[in-house]
């Protein structure tokens, strides 16, 4: 049963990879990367049970944290074209961050 779950996760990873390779816009690729990170986390968790070592769950939890932070960083980059903008919107900032046009892909 766990093997079937692992195979299903591999198939899902393959689908995410197809979307990341052929995604027409950048947002497709970001979403594919984030979703693929989630699938990787699940896959490592399942892998621990397949190999009889459930302590892999700790590693997968840490991967979830890394995946979340890197997705936030990439989306912040897309939105503001910079990492140096605070995520909290201040009321009277001197330089208002410019909204990105988005969606362009070379």
């Amino acid at each position: 049963m766990i093997g079937a779950a692992a195979i299903a996760l591999i198939v899902a990873i393959g689908l995410m990879l197809i979307r990341a390779l052929s995604g027409p816009t950048l947002y497709d690729r970001v979403l594919a990367m984030n979703s693929l990170g989630t699938k990787i986390v699940l896959f490592i968790g399942v892998l621990g049970f397949v190999l009889g070592r459930p302590d892999f769950l700790d590693i997968s939890v840490l991967y979830a944290l890394i995946n979340f932070v890197s997705t936030i960083a990439i989306l912040k980059f897309f939105r503001y074209r910079s990492f140096q903008v605070p995520l909290m919107r201040k009321t009277n900032t001197p330089r208002q961050p410019r909204a990105a046009e988005g969606g362009e892909d070379g």
């Binding site: 990873i13 990879l17 990341a20 990787i40 892998l47 070592r53 590693i59 890197s70 140096q84």
Partner: protein
């Protein structure tokens, strides 16, 4: 392995599937011209290779790969793209025979070198005969963590790891001091020079 009886076959299958995914991603990275897509794909590459390292039981390497490859270097590459353009220069596709031959020859030499390696898990191999057995015997009672690599890194060679951490920290500090943060940073000054664009 204490898993169910098909664990060896499962490991072999997982190795083949993950390496196949890595191969596809690497080919796509080499073919693409959009730098954003390449950064995304290199992050995906790091995630998948980290998974492969976990499957190979090299948990500490996998950890470094996930933190550095998927986390830090993605952010660094995106930050570097602030300073350059978005797409790579289109190159004329021409078939280069010499690099292909060099790659094939190097691969053949590496494959030939693996013939002399001891078999996987061979108890008479040099890695398993000298100090390794000592660590394996003494870790359960002296340190008491399940992963022996962790015990070696964090306890037996703890000062070594501490020194490495100090080196990496000072390198990161020097880079941050050179590039700067906030309004005075390199990317911000370039953004001002371009009149606020990008």
């Amino acid at each position: 392995m204490t898993g169910y009886e098909g664990a060896d076959l499962a490991i072999a299958l997982i190795n083949v599937v993950l390496l196949g995914l890595l191969f596809v991603v690497a080919i796509a990275i080499a073919r693409m011209r959009s730098l954003f897509a390449i950064v995304m794909l290199s992050s995906i590459y790091s995630l998948i290779s980290a998974t492969w390292f976990v499957a190979l039981d090299a948990v500490d390497v996998a950890f470094t790969e996930a933190a550095v490859g998927a986390g830090i270097s993605t952010a660094l590459l995106l930050g570097a793209m602030l300073l350059t353009s978005r797409t790579a220069k289109p190159e004329p596709r021409k078939f280069a025979i010499v690099p292909l031959l060099v790659c094939i020859a190097t691969g053949l030499i590496l494959v030939y070198a693996t013939i002399d390696l001891p078999a996987f898990g061979d108890p008479d191999s040099p890695a398993n005969t000298y100090v390794g057995t000592d660590y394996i015997e003494r870790t359960p009672e002296e340190i008491g963590v399940p992963n022996i690599v962790t015990a070696v890194l964090a306890s037996y060679r703890g000062f070594d790891t501490l020194g490495e951490t100090g080196v990496v920290f000072s390198a990161a500090l020097a880079v941050i001091l050179l590039l700067g943060f906030g309004e005075r940073s390199l990317s911000a000054s370039i953004g001002r020079r371009k009149g606020g664009k990008e």
